[in-house]
Protein backbone atom coordinates (compact mmCIF):
# COMPACT_ATOMS: atom_id res chain seq x y z
CA UNK A 1 0.00 0.00 0.00
CA UNK A 2 2.44 2.61 -1.18
CA UNK A 3 -0.05 4.81 -3.03
CA UNK A 4 -1.37 7.61 -0.84
CA UNK A 5 -5.07 7.51 -0.27
CA UNK A 6 -6.80 10.88 0.11
CA UNK A 7 -7.94 11.60 3.67
CA UNK A 8 -11.58 11.71 2.71
CA UNK A 9 -11.73 9.14 -0.05
CA UNK A 10 -15.05 7.62 -0.95
CA UNK A 11 -14.24 4.64 1.25
CA UNK A 12 -13.42 6.81 4.21
CA UNK A 13 -16.51 8.96 3.78
CA UNK A 14 -18.54 5.79 3.89
CA UNK A 15 -17.03 4.99 7.29
CA UNK A 16 -18.44 8.25 8.57
CA UNK A 17 -21.78 8.11 6.79
CA UNK A 18 -22.94 4.52 6.99
CA UNK A 19 -23.29 4.35 10.79
CA UNK A 20 -25.56 7.38 10.65
CA UNK A 21 -28.15 5.57 8.56
CA UNK A 22 -28.03 2.18 6.94
CA UNK A 23 -25.52 0.72 9.41
CA UNK A 24 -26.62 2.55 12.55
CA UNK A 25 -25.35 0.89 15.73
CA UNK A 26 -28.65 1.35 17.59
CA UNK A 27 -31.40 1.02 15.02
CA UNK A 28 -29.79 -1.52 12.69
CA UNK A 29 -27.26 -3.42 14.77
CA UNK A 30 -29.32 -2.90 17.95
CA UNK A 31 -26.24 -2.36 20.12
CA UNK A 32 -25.92 0.04 23.03
CA UNK A 33 -29.62 -0.08 23.84
CA UNK A 34 -28.98 -0.17 27.59
CA UNK A 35 -27.49 3.30 27.76
CA UNK A 36 -30.01 4.59 25.24
CA UNK A 37 -32.71 3.81 27.79
CA UNK A 38 -30.86 5.11 30.78
CA UNK A 39 -29.69 8.59 29.84
CA UNK A 40 -32.42 9.86 27.53
CA UNK A 41 -34.97 11.22 29.99
CA UNK A 42 -33.41 14.67 29.46
CA UNK A 43 -31.49 16.21 26.56
CA UNK A 44 -28.46 17.38 28.48
CA UNK A 45 -27.25 14.01 29.79
CA UNK A 46 -27.95 12.49 26.37
CA UNK A 47 -25.72 15.08 24.69
CA UNK A 48 -22.94 14.68 27.24
CA UNK A 49 -23.18 10.91 27.02
CA UNK A 50 -22.93 11.04 23.22
CA UNK A 51 -19.87 13.28 23.39
CA UNK A 52 -18.24 11.06 26.01
CA UNK A 53 -18.87 7.94 23.94
CA UNK A 54 -17.49 9.74 20.90
CA UNK A 55 -14.30 10.70 22.72
CA UNK A 56 -13.81 7.23 24.14
CA UNK A 57 -14.67 5.37 20.95
CA UNK A 58 -12.54 7.51 18.63
CA UNK A 59 -9.52 7.42 20.93
CA UNK A 60 -9.84 3.72 21.73
CA UNK A 61 -10.15 2.92 18.03
CA UNK A 62 -7.01 4.92 17.22
CA UNK A 63 -4.97 3.46 20.08
CA UNK A 64 -6.00 -0.12 19.35
CA UNK A 65 -5.35 0.42 15.66
CA UNK A 66 -1.87 1.84 16.38
CA UNK A 67 -0.86 -1.17 18.46
CA UNK A 68 -2.90 -3.75 16.54
CA UNK A 69 0.15 -5.61 15.24
CA UNK A 70 1.73 -5.93 18.67
CA UNK A 71 -1.30 -7.21 20.57
CA UNK A 72 -0.97 -10.90 21.45
CA UNK A 73 -4.18 -12.35 20.06
CA UNK A 74 -4.85 -14.50 23.13
CA UNK A 75 -5.25 -11.49 25.40
CA UNK A 76 -6.63 -9.02 22.87
CA UNK A 77 -9.99 -8.65 24.60
CA UNK A 78 -8.21 -7.88 27.89
CA UNK A 79 -6.02 -5.31 26.17
CA UNK A 80 -9.07 -3.67 24.63
CA UNK A 81 -10.87 -3.63 27.96
CA UNK A 82 -7.92 -2.08 29.78
CA UNK A 83 -7.63 0.69 27.22
CA UNK A 84 -11.36 1.41 27.14
CA UNK A 85 -11.55 1.34 30.94
CA UNK A 86 -8.62 3.73 31.26
CA UNK A 87 -10.17 6.17 28.77
CA UNK A 88 -13.53 6.00 30.51
CA UNK A 89 -11.96 6.74 33.88
CA UNK A 90 -10.19 9.74 32.40
CA UNK A 91 -13.47 11.01 30.88
CA UNK A 92 -15.23 10.50 34.21
CA UNK A 93 -12.52 12.42 36.08
CA UNK A 94 -12.62 15.27 33.56
CA UNK A 95 -16.40 15.52 33.86
CA UNK A 96 -16.12 15.59 37.65
CA UNK A 97 -13.64 18.42 37.41
CA UNK A 98 -15.25 20.54 34.69
CA UNK A 99 -18.93 19.56 34.48
CA UNK A 100 -19.78 18.53 38.01
CA UNK A 101 -23.56 18.86 37.74
CA UNK A 102 -23.70 16.72 34.62
CA UNK A 103 -21.32 14.16 36.07
CA UNK A 104 -23.65 13.77 39.04
CA UNK A 105 -26.58 13.06 36.72
CA UNK A 106 -24.63 10.62 34.57
CA UNK A 107 -22.79 9.12 37.56
CA UNK A 108 -22.81 5.39 36.95
CA UNK A 109 -23.59 5.58 33.25
CA UNK A 110 -20.21 7.05 32.39
CA UNK A 111 -18.62 4.05 34.06
CA UNK A 112 -20.94 1.86 32.05
CA UNK A 113 -19.45 3.17 28.79
CA UNK A 114 -16.88 0.44 29.42
CA UNK A 115 -19.54 -2.16 28.83
CA UNK A 116 -21.17 -0.31 25.93
CA UNK A 117 -21.32 -3.03 23.31
CA UNK A 118 -20.73 -0.54 20.49
CA UNK A 119 -17.23 0.18 21.72
CA UNK A 120 -16.05 -3.41 22.08
CA UNK A 121 -17.83 -4.21 18.83
CA UNK A 122 -16.01 -1.53 16.85
CA UNK A 123 -12.64 -2.40 18.39
CA UNK A 124 -13.04 -6.08 17.52
CA UNK A 125 -14.63 -5.61 14.13
CA UNK A 126 -12.74 -2.62 12.81
CA UNK A 127 -9.81 -1.19 14.75
CA UNK A 128 -7.97 -4.51 15.00
CA UNK A 129 -7.77 -4.78 11.21
CA UNK A 130 -7.46 -1.21 9.98
CA UNK A 131 -5.10 1.76 9.99
CA UNK A 132 -5.47 4.54 12.58
CA UNK A 133 -7.10 7.15 10.32
CA UNK A 134 -9.95 4.96 9.02
CA UNK A 135 -10.32 3.61 12.60
CA UNK A 136 -10.68 7.17 13.87
CA UNK A 137 -13.33 7.95 11.26
CA UNK A 138 -15.13 4.72 12.05
CA UNK A 139 -15.14 5.68 15.74
CA UNK A 140 -16.49 9.16 15.08
CA UNK A 141 -19.08 7.80 12.65
CA UNK A 142 -20.42 5.14 14.96
CA UNK A 143 -20.48 7.43 17.96
CA UNK A 144 -22.36 10.01 15.90
CA UNK A 145 -24.80 7.35 14.75
CA UNK A 146 -25.31 6.39 18.38
CA UNK A 147 -25.48 10.01 19.48
CA UNK A 148 -28.09 11.28 17.08
CA UNK A 149 -30.48 8.49 17.99
CA UNK A 150 -29.93 9.25 21.68
CA UNK A 151 -30.60 12.93 21.11
CA UNK A 152 -33.77 12.29 19.08
CA UNK A 153 -35.11 10.00 21.81
CA UNK A 154 -34.18 12.48 24.53
CA UNK A 155 -35.83 15.30 22.56
CA UNK A 156 -39.20 13.57 22.53
CA UNK A 157 -38.92 12.22 26.06
CA UNK A 158 -38.02 15.56 27.58
CA UNK A 159 -40.56 17.50 25.50
CA UNK A 160 -43.49 15.20 26.22
CA UNK A 161 -42.38 14.05 29.66
CA UNK A 162 -41.26 17.29 31.29
CA UNK A 163 -42.44 19.98 28.88
CA UNK A 164 -38.90 21.33 28.67
CA UNK A 165 -36.01 21.20 26.23
CA UNK A 166 -32.46 21.31 27.54
CA UNK A 167 -33.94 22.47 30.84
CA UNK A 168 -35.88 25.42 29.35
CA UNK A 169 -39.66 25.48 29.45
CA UNK A 170 -41.04 25.28 25.92
CA UNK A 171 -44.66 24.37 26.49
CA UNK A 172 -46.42 27.61 27.38
CA UNK A 173 -48.25 27.93 30.69
CA UNK A 174 -51.50 28.54 28.78
CA UNK A 175 -51.49 24.91 27.66
CA UNK A 176 -51.31 23.73 31.25
CA UNK A 177 -54.09 26.11 32.22
CA UNK A 178 -56.24 24.51 29.55
CA UNK A 179 -55.69 21.11 31.13
CA UNK A 180 -52.62 19.81 29.32
CA UNK A 181 -50.44 17.55 31.44
CA UNK A 182 -46.91 16.25 31.08
CA UNK A 183 -46.87 12.58 30.29
CA UNK A 184 -45.05 10.99 33.22
CA UNK A 185 -44.77 7.74 31.28
CA UNK A 186 -42.24 9.34 28.95
CA UNK A 187 -39.78 9.70 31.83
CA UNK A 188 -39.77 5.97 32.47
CA UNK A 189 -37.28 3.72 30.61
CA UNK A 190 -39.85 1.61 28.72
CA UNK A 191 -40.89 4.64 26.68
CA UNK A 192 -37.31 4.96 25.42
CA UNK A 193 -37.59 1.43 24.09
CA UNK A 194 -40.85 2.26 22.36
CA UNK A 195 -39.32 5.42 20.90
CA UNK A 196 -36.38 3.38 19.57
CA UNK A 197 -38.91 0.98 18.10
CA UNK A 198 -40.71 3.80 16.32
CA UNK A 199 -37.43 5.14 14.92
CA UNK A 200 -36.55 1.64 13.64
CA UNK A 201 -40.00 1.33 12.09
CA UNK A 202 -39.75 4.66 10.30
CA UNK A 203 -36.24 3.87 9.09
CA UNK A 204 -37.20 0.45 7.72
CA UNK A 205 -40.30 1.62 5.98
CA UNK A 206 -38.21 4.21 4.15
CA UNK A 207 -35.26 1.92 3.42
CA UNK A 208 -36.64 -1.42 2.30
CA UNK A 209 -33.18 -2.99 1.96
CA UNK A 210 -32.96 -3.15 5.76
CA UNK A 211 -35.92 -5.50 6.03
CA UNK A 212 -34.85 -9.11 6.57
CA UNK A 213 -36.01 -11.53 3.92
CA UNK A 214 -37.66 -14.13 6.16
Amino acid sequence: MSDKEPLFSAKNRKLLKNPLGSDNPITVQVLGICSALAVTAKLEPAVVMSLSVMAVLALANVIISLIRNTIPSRIRIIVQLVIVAALVIVVDQILKAFAYEVSKQLSVFVGLIITNCIIMGRLEAFALGNKPWPAFLDGIGNAAGYGWILIVIAFFRELLGSGTLYGFKVIPQAFYDMGYQNNGLMILPPMALITVGIIIWVQRSRNKSLIESN
Binding site: I71, P72, R74
Partner: protein
Protein backbone atom coordinates in the same frame (compact mmCIF):
# COMPACT_ATOMS: atom_id res chain seq x y z
CA UNK B 1 9.12 -11.23 16.89
CA UNK B 2 6.75 -13.99 17.89
CA UNK B 3 3.75 -12.20 19.30
CA UNK B 4 2.12 -15.48 20.28
CA UNK B 5 4.71 -16.73 22.77
CA UNK B 6 3.93 -16.84 26.48
CA UNK B 7 6.86 -14.62 27.45
CA UNK B 8 5.76 -11.95 25.02
CA UNK B 9 2.17 -12.12 26.23
CA UNK B 10 3.17 -11.77 29.88
CA UNK B 11 5.61 -8.96 29.21
CA UNK B 12 3.05 -7.17 27.07
CA UNK B 13 0.38 -7.37 29.77
CA UNK B 14 2.78 -6.23 32.50
CA UNK B 15 4.09 -3.21 30.61
CA UNK B 16 0.62 -2.19 29.48
CA UNK B 17 -0.75 -2.27 33.02
CA UNK B 18 2.11 -0.18 34.39
CA UNK B 19 1.75 2.38 31.61
CA UNK B 20 -2.00 2.68 32.02
CA UNK B 21 -1.64 2.99 35.80
CA UNK B 22 0.87 5.81 35.36
CA UNK B 23 -1.41 7.69 32.98
CA UNK B 24 -4.43 7.31 35.28
CA UNK B 25 -2.64 8.43 38.42
CA UNK B 26 -1.25 11.44 36.61
CA UNK B 27 -4.74 12.43 35.41
CA UNK B 28 -6.25 11.88 38.85
CA UNK B 29 -3.59 14.01 40.55
CA UNK B 30 -3.96 16.83 38.04
CA UNK B 31 -7.74 17.01 38.33
CA UNK B 32 -8.03 16.45 42.08
CA UNK B 33 -7.94 20.12 43.18
CA UNK B 34 -10.76 21.09 40.82
CA UNK B 35 -12.87 18.13 41.91
CA UNK B 36 -12.43 18.89 45.60
CA UNK B 37 -13.45 22.46 44.93
CA UNK B 38 -16.61 21.31 43.14
CA UNK B 39 -17.52 19.15 46.12
CA UNK B 40 -16.91 22.02 48.53
CA UNK B 41 -19.05 24.37 46.47
CA UNK B 42 -21.82 21.80 46.42
CA UNK B 43 -21.68 21.48 50.20
CA UNK B 44 -21.88 25.26 50.55
CA UNK B 45 -24.88 25.32 48.23
CA UNK B 46 -26.56 22.62 50.32
CA UNK B 47 -25.91 24.53 53.54
CA UNK B 48 -27.46 27.64 52.02
CA UNK B 49 -30.39 25.64 50.71
CA UNK B 50 -31.22 24.48 54.22
CA UNK B 51 -32.03 28.11 55.07
CA UNK B 52 -33.88 28.59 51.76
CA UNK B 53 -31.16 30.65 50.10
CA UNK B 54 -30.91 29.68 46.44
CA UNK B 55 -27.43 29.81 44.97
CA UNK B 56 -25.57 28.90 41.80
CA UNK B 57 -22.14 27.26 41.70
CA UNK B 58 -20.75 30.67 40.76
CA UNK B 59 -22.06 32.72 43.66
CA UNK B 60 -22.22 30.01 46.34
CA UNK B 61 -18.86 30.91 47.89
CA UNK B 62 -19.70 34.58 48.06
CA UNK B 63 -23.13 34.00 49.62
CA UNK B 64 -21.65 31.47 52.02
CA UNK B 65 -19.08 33.93 53.35
CA UNK B 66 -21.72 36.62 53.56
CA UNK B 67 -24.46 34.73 55.40
CA UNK B 68 -22.72 31.98 57.36
CA UNK B 69 -21.32 34.24 60.02
CA UNK B 70 -20.06 31.57 62.36
CA UNK B 71 -19.34 27.87 62.31
CA UNK B 72 -18.65 26.00 65.51
CA UNK B 73 -17.97 22.48 66.71
CA UNK B 74 -19.70 21.31 69.88
CA UNK B 75 -19.56 18.01 71.76
CA UNK B 76 -22.46 15.94 73.08
CA UNK B 77 -22.16 17.71 76.46
CA UNK B 78 -23.07 20.95 74.76
CA UNK B 79 -19.73 22.71 75.15
CA UNK B 80 -18.17 24.52 72.21
CA UNK B 81 -14.82 22.97 71.32
CA UNK B 82 -13.88 25.01 68.28
CA UNK B 83 -14.96 28.22 66.59
CA UNK B 84 -12.79 27.79 63.54
CA UNK B 85 -14.98 28.18 60.46
CA UNK B 86 -12.78 26.15 58.13
CA UNK B 87 -12.28 23.39 60.66
CA UNK B 88 -16.03 23.06 61.14
CA UNK B 89 -16.55 22.96 57.39
CA UNK B 90 -13.99 20.18 57.04
CA UNK B 91 -15.62 17.89 59.64
CA UNK B 92 -16.38 14.56 57.96
CA UNK B 93 -19.65 13.17 59.29
CA UNK B 94 -18.77 9.71 58.05
CA UNK B 95 -15.84 9.59 60.46
CA UNK B 96 -17.74 11.28 63.30
CA UNK B 97 -20.80 9.01 63.06
CA UNK B 98 -18.60 5.92 63.08
CA UNK B 99 -17.17 6.85 66.49
CA UNK B 100 -18.87 4.48 68.95
CA UNK B 101 -18.68 6.86 71.87
CA UNK B 102 -21.02 9.79 71.25
CA UNK B 103 -18.93 11.98 73.55
CA UNK B 104 -15.99 11.73 71.14
CA UNK B 105 -17.93 13.05 68.17
CA UNK B 106 -17.29 16.49 66.76
CA UNK B 107 -20.68 18.06 66.07
CA UNK B 108 -20.61 20.88 63.55
CA UNK B 109 -23.09 23.76 63.57
CA UNK B 110 -23.21 26.49 60.94
CA UNK B 111 -24.74 29.75 62.08
CA UNK B 112 -26.63 31.68 59.43
CA UNK B 113 -27.58 35.28 59.86
CA UNK B 114 -29.40 37.66 57.56
CA UNK B 115 -31.17 40.88 58.22
CA UNK B 116 -34.92 40.36 58.46
CA UNK B 117 -34.59 36.63 58.94
CA UNK B 118 -32.44 36.44 62.02
CA UNK B 119 -30.09 33.75 63.22
CA UNK B 120 -30.56 30.11 62.30
CA UNK B 121 -28.49 27.08 63.21
CA UNK B 122 -27.71 24.62 60.45
CA UNK B 123 -26.92 21.03 61.40
CA UNK B 124 -25.56 18.47 58.92
CA UNK B 125 -26.98 14.95 58.99
CA UNK B 126 -25.84 11.72 57.36
CA UNK B 127 -27.50 8.33 57.25
CA UNK B 128 -28.36 5.26 55.23
CA UNK B 129 -31.08 5.04 52.61
CA UNK B 130 -32.09 1.95 50.72
CA UNK B 131 -29.23 1.74 48.19
CA UNK B 132 -26.63 4.04 49.60
CA UNK B 133 -25.95 7.07 51.76
CA UNK B 134 -28.47 9.85 52.25
CA UNK B 135 -27.49 13.15 53.79
CA UNK B 136 -28.82 16.59 54.40
CA UNK B 137 -28.80 19.84 56.34
CA UNK B 138 -31.47 20.82 58.85
CA UNK B 139 -31.75 24.41 59.97
CA UNK B 140 -33.28 25.33 63.32
CA UNK B 141 -34.72 28.57 64.62
CA UNK B 142 -32.66 30.23 67.33
CA UNK B 143 -34.94 28.59 69.94
CA UNK B 144 -33.20 25.32 69.04
CA UNK B 145 -36.34 23.26 68.61
CA UNK B 146 -38.29 24.50 65.61
CA UNK B 147 -37.15 23.45 62.16
CA UNK B 148 -36.71 26.39 59.81
CA UNK B 149 -35.77 24.46 56.69
CA UNK B 150 -34.30 21.21 55.52
CA UNK B 151 -32.60 19.80 52.47
CA UNK B 152 -31.78 16.19 51.75
CA UNK B 153 -29.57 14.51 49.17
CA UNK B 154 -29.17 10.92 48.12
CA UNK B 155 -26.60 8.97 46.22
CA UNK B 156 -28.67 6.29 44.55
CA UNK B 157 -32.22 6.04 45.86
CA UNK B 158 -34.83 4.84 43.39
CA UNK B 159 -35.87 7.73 41.11
CA UNK B 160 -39.53 8.59 41.62
CA UNK B 161 -39.68 6.73 44.94
CA UNK B 162 -36.93 7.08 47.56
CA UNK B 163 -35.16 9.80 45.60
CA UNK B 164 -38.18 12.06 46.16
CA UNK B 165 -36.57 13.07 49.46
CA UNK B 166 -34.33 15.35 47.41
CA UNK B 167 -37.33 17.25 45.98
CA UNK B 168 -38.60 20.48 47.45
CA UNK B 169 -42.15 19.07 47.71
CA UNK B 170 -40.81 16.67 50.32
CA UNK B 171 -38.54 19.15 52.06
CA UNK B 172 -40.81 22.18 52.37
CA UNK B 173 -43.26 20.65 54.88
CA UNK B 174 -40.40 20.25 57.36
CA UNK B 175 -40.57 23.95 58.11
CA UNK B 176 -42.20 24.51 61.47
CA UNK B 177 -41.83 20.97 62.80
CA UNK B 178 -40.68 20.54 66.38
CA UNK B 179 -37.87 18.21 67.45
CA UNK B 180 -38.68 18.63 71.19
CA UNK B 181 -42.10 17.74 72.62
CA UNK B 182 -44.19 20.02 74.84
CA UNK B 183 -42.48 18.71 77.96
CA UNK B 184 -39.10 19.66 76.52
CA UNK B 185 -38.01 16.10 75.80
CA UNK B 186 -36.03 15.42 72.63
CA UNK B 187 -38.21 13.42 70.23
CA UNK B 188 -36.75 14.04 66.78
CA UNK B 189 -39.35 13.50 64.03
CA UNK B 190 -41.29 10.31 63.46
CA UNK B 191 -42.21 9.02 60.04
CA UNK B 192 -45.91 8.47 59.37
CA UNK B 193 -47.70 7.02 56.40
CA UNK B 194 -50.76 8.68 54.99
CA UNK B 195 -50.08 12.32 55.61
CA UNK B 196 -48.64 14.30 58.46
CA UNK B 197 -49.65 17.61 57.00
CA UNK B 198 -51.09 20.31 59.20
CA UNK B 199 -50.97 20.33 62.97
CA UNK B 200 -48.71 17.34 63.47
CA UNK B 201 -45.45 19.00 64.38
CA UNK B 202 -43.58 15.91 65.53
CA UNK B 203 -44.04 13.79 62.44
CA UNK B 204 -43.12 13.89 58.78
CA UNK B 205 -44.89 12.32 55.85
CA UNK B 206 -43.19 9.23 54.40
CA UNK B 207 -42.59 8.95 50.65
CA UNK B 208 -45.10 6.53 49.12
CA UNK B 209 -43.21 3.52 47.81
CA UNK B 210 -40.06 4.72 49.53
CA UNK B 211 -40.56 3.22 52.95
CA UNK B 212 -36.99 2.06 53.47
CA UNK B 213 -35.63 5.46 52.46
CA UNK B 214 -38.13 7.24 54.72
CA UNK B 215 -37.21 5.02 57.64
CA UNK B 216 -33.55 5.70 56.92
CA UNK B 217 -34.31 9.40 57.02
CA UNK B 218 -36.14 9.04 60.32
CA UNK B 219 -33.15 7.16 61.78
CA UNK B 220 -30.75 9.72 60.32
CA UNK B 221 -32.55 12.62 62.02
CA UNK B 222 -32.80 10.73 65.30
CA UNK B 223 -29.15 9.63 65.35
CA UNK B 224 -27.61 12.90 64.30
CA UNK B 225 -29.82 15.42 66.06
CA UNK B 226 -29.92 13.54 69.38
CA UNK B 227 -26.24 14.19 70.03
CA UNK B 228 -26.97 17.93 69.86
CA UNK B 229 -29.69 17.66 72.52
CA UNK B 230 -27.74 19.24 75.37
CA UNK B 231 -26.41 22.06 73.23
CA UNK B 232 -29.84 22.86 71.82
CA UNK B 233 -31.47 22.81 75.26
CA UNK B 234 -28.87 25.22 76.61
CA UNK B 235 -29.45 27.62 73.73
CA UNK B 236 -33.12 28.13 74.52
Amino acid sequence: MNTQSNTYTFLYAAIMVVLVAAVLSFAALQLKPRQTRNIEIEKKQDILKAVNVASTPENAEELYTQYIVKAIIVNSEGTVTSEDKDKTFAVDLKIENSKKNVADRNLPIFVFSKEGIGEKMIIPVLGKGMWGPIWGFVSLESDGKTIYGATFGNKGETPGLGAEISKSEFQEPFTGKQIFDEAGKFTSLAMVKGGAAGGRPHEFDAVSGGTVTSKGLEAMLQDNLSSYEKFLKSSK
